[in-house]
Every structure is written in structure tokens, then in C-alpha cells.
């Protein structure tokens, strides 16, 4: 998995690509929680090039959202491939996370 932090229209976007599995999740957690602790909000996560997410990845975003909510920040998930979205939907987390069809939708929301 690769992680790139970019900025678009003044909003921070974490671009992810590859598989978010048990090897990748600790690295992702470190990046995500660093941004959360800095109070970066809104933080948009670009899932466009994510091919797979396992339960460790989901747990990492749960932890990230919990950290954001503690100070009223916003974590926005965008451009989820259908297989990834299915995992969020199955666990009913699609009703908890803010999920957007595209990066632009997430930025403009």
C-alpha cells in the first residue's frame, strides 16, 4: 500500500492505493493518527485505488473517526470501489462514516 498526502482547494487528502491489510494497517494508522492529533479537518481519504480492505483497515478508520469526533473534526471517505464499500455496508459503518462518491463531492460537502 502507498500513502500520499496532498492538498486540493485547501483541503488535505490522503491518497491510498493497493491493499489495506494487516501488514499495511499499522503504517496507515501512524499516518492517520498523526493528522488526527494535529487536528487536520476535514480530512478526505481517497479510496479510488484501494483494491482491498480487511478488518484491520476498517478498525484503523474506526479509530481515526473516534479521534476526529473527540474534537469535532470531519473524516470523509471518498471514491470507494464497490468491494470496499460492501465491507463498510456489511458492518453498518456506512451509516457512521461520511462517504462520498468522488473527491470533489467530499471537498465541496
Amino acid at each position: 500500500m502507498t500513502i500520499i498526502l496532498i492538498e486540493k482547494y485547501g483541503k488535505k487528502i490522503l491518497e491510498l492505493s493497493g491493499e489495506i491489510d494487516m501488514n499495511a494497517s499499522p503504517v496507515l494508522r501512524k499516518e492517520l493518527m498523526t493528522l488526527v492529533k494535529k487536528g487536520v479537518t476535514p480530512l478526505v481519504i481517497d479510496f479510488n485505488n484501494v483494491s482491498y480492505i480487511d478488518s484491520s483497515g476498517i478498525a484503523t478508520f474506526v479509530e481515526g473517526l473516534k479521534g476526529m469526533m473527540a474534537f469535532g473534526g470531519k473524516l470523509k471517505l471518498a471514491a470507494l470501489p464497490s468491494a470496499v464499500k460492501e465491507i463498510f455496508s456489511f458492518s453498518k459503518l456506512d451509516r457512521v462514516f461520511e462517504i462520498y462518491g468522488s473527491i470533489d463531492d467530499a471537498i465541496n460537502s
Binding site: 494487516m22 494497517s25 478488518s55 484491520s56 478498525a59 484503523t60 458492518s91
Partner: protein
């Protein structure tokens, strides 16, 4: 559909006795394959070979194209990380809470932070309907709950394969049906390749995509449920129609046997 497991010409012995007699079959990815057969037919022995607990006398067992027959233990441990197993007795560690039982493989085999592990443990327990039971010990649970907890632990590392050894054994019909529903859910949502060893017909008809029937260490049927139901093999018919074995001895032979003649 892609092959996930391929067993080729598998032969195994316990001592001098041949248990599995030149068995070959395929398990397709994302399907639930039920290994069916009466007591002592060799189905649990076959399962132990599939998870690398027993080594065959000869033959190949390909898991994701890797032959695990004769594989070194260190390599086998890597393969096992992608396997979840629910043993008959659930095999929970009685000295640990459910949360610690489920967390154990995550702590042993990953570098995940404890905070991530705790969230995953709650996800896995919720998946099997045991939310709120994190701090319970196995001795405080019913048989069905123990099986569910065992399944939560089997799912801890998000395995590609799940193996079940007689999942319904010792459960009432309603609890057994609940476990069958859970097996279906895991296949449908997580696309896990599932192998279930059972002799329970209601479970078979609820969960199986593909059936392999063993008798005396040989495959006597391999096919779909529909094909099984119209099979004319006499041993298949006996099993499906719950017909008892024919008397082993005539009264005269029995008398001779117990009289010691």
C-alpha cells in the same frame, strides 16, 4: 471458477491400516464444500490433512497452488495464517476471556497496535452475535456460544479459508441452524472458501455448494446438492434415507463368534 484447494491421489495410514485410499478432488474458491460421510469414514482425517496437522503417506494437497504435503513447519505456519479452523470443541483457552481468545492470533501474528486489536475483537465478536461478551470466560458460555466464539477467533486474521469440523455436533437444531446461517453469511460477504466436515443432513442442505461423500476412505460421490439427491449410489441412498447398516452377522455367525468357535 478458480481452484482454491486441489487434493491429488491422497493416501494415508494409521499404522498398517489404510484410512484414505487414493483420494482426489477440488475445492473451488468462494464456495462451501461439505465433506460428508458416516462415522469412521475418514472425513475428519481428511480435514486434518487439509490444515496440515497430518502428513499423508503419498499424494499432494495444493492450497493456493502450494503443495503442503511434506511442507516444513515454518512454511506451513505461513500457510495457516490464511486458514481459520473451528474445531469440534471450539478449542478456546479456558483461562482467557473471549476478547483475549480472539485477540491471541492478532497479538501473535501481526504488528497491529493494541487499540486496533481491541476494535477488531469487538468487530469479530459482533459478527458472531456475541457483542457484550468480551469479558466472559468460555466456562460461562453455552455450547452454541462457545462455537460462535471459536468462529470469531477463527476469523481473527481475516482468513481466505475456513475449515469446520462437525460444527453442529452437540447443538440443538435451532442453535445449529443459526450457526449454518452464519457460515452462509461468511461465504456471501467475505467470499471465504469454506470446507465443512459433517454428517448432519439439515446442515448439508442449508450450506453446501459442493458435496464430497466419503465411505470407507474412498470418495463415492462428488457433485452438487441436486446431483447428490438423484444419485443412485446405494451408500449415498442409505445415508440420505437414514437406512441402518445390514446386520453384520447372521444369528449363527454371532453365536459362533461369542461362543469362541
Amino acid at each position: 471458477m478458480e481452484e482454491a484447494i486441489k487434493v491429488d491421489s491422497l493416501v494415508t495410514h494409521y499404522g498398517e491400516r489404510q484410512i484414505l485410499k487414493n483420494i482426489s478432488f477440488t475445492v473451488l474458491r468462494g464456495q462451501t464444500t461439505v465433506i460428508l460421510g458416516g462415522s469412521g469414514c475418514g472425513k475428519s482425517t481428511l480435514l486434518k490433512h487439509l490444515i496440515g496437522l497430518l502428513q499423508p503417506t503419498s499424494g499432494k494437497i495444493l492450497i493456493n497452488d502450494n503443495n503442503i504435503a511434506g511442507m516444513r513447519e515454518e512454511e506451513m505456519n505461513e500457510v495457516r495464517k490464511k486458514m481459520g479452523v473451528l474445531f469440534q470443541g471450539a478449542a478456546l483457552l479456558n483461562s482467557m476471556t473471549l476478547a483475549d481468545n480472539v485477540a491471541l492470533p492478532l497479538r501473535e501474528h501481526t504488528k497491529l497496535e493494541e487499540s486496533t486489536i481491541q476494535i477488531m475483537v469487538r468487530m469479530k465478536l459482533d459478527l458472531v452475535g456475541l457483542s457484550g461478551f468480551e469479558h466472559f470466560y468460555p466456562s460461562q458460555l453455552s455450547g452454541g456460544m462457545k462455537k460462535r466464539a471459536g468462529l470469531a477467533r477463527a476469523m481473527a486474521l481475516d482468513p481466505d479459508f475456513l475449515f469446520f469440523d462437525e460444527p453442529s455436533a452437540g447443538l440443538d437444531p435451532v442453535t445449529a441452524a443459526g450457526l449454518d446461517q452464519l457460515i452462509l453469511k461468511l461465504r456471501n460477504v467475505f467470499k471465504v472458501t469454506i470446507v465443512v466436515v459433517t454428517h448432519e443432513l439439515p446442515s448439508l442442505f442449508m450450506i453446501a455448494d459442493h458435496v464430497i461423500m466419503l465411505d470407507m476412505g474412498e470418495i463415492i460421490f462428488a457433485g452438487t446438492l441436486d446431483e447428490l439427491q438423484i444419485s443412485e449410489h446405494p451408500r449415498v441412498r442409505m445415508f440420505l434415507e437414514r437406512k441402518p447398516e445390514a446386520e453384520e452377522y447372521s444369528p449363527e455367525d454371532y453365536f459362533k463368534f461369542i461362543a469362541g468357535d
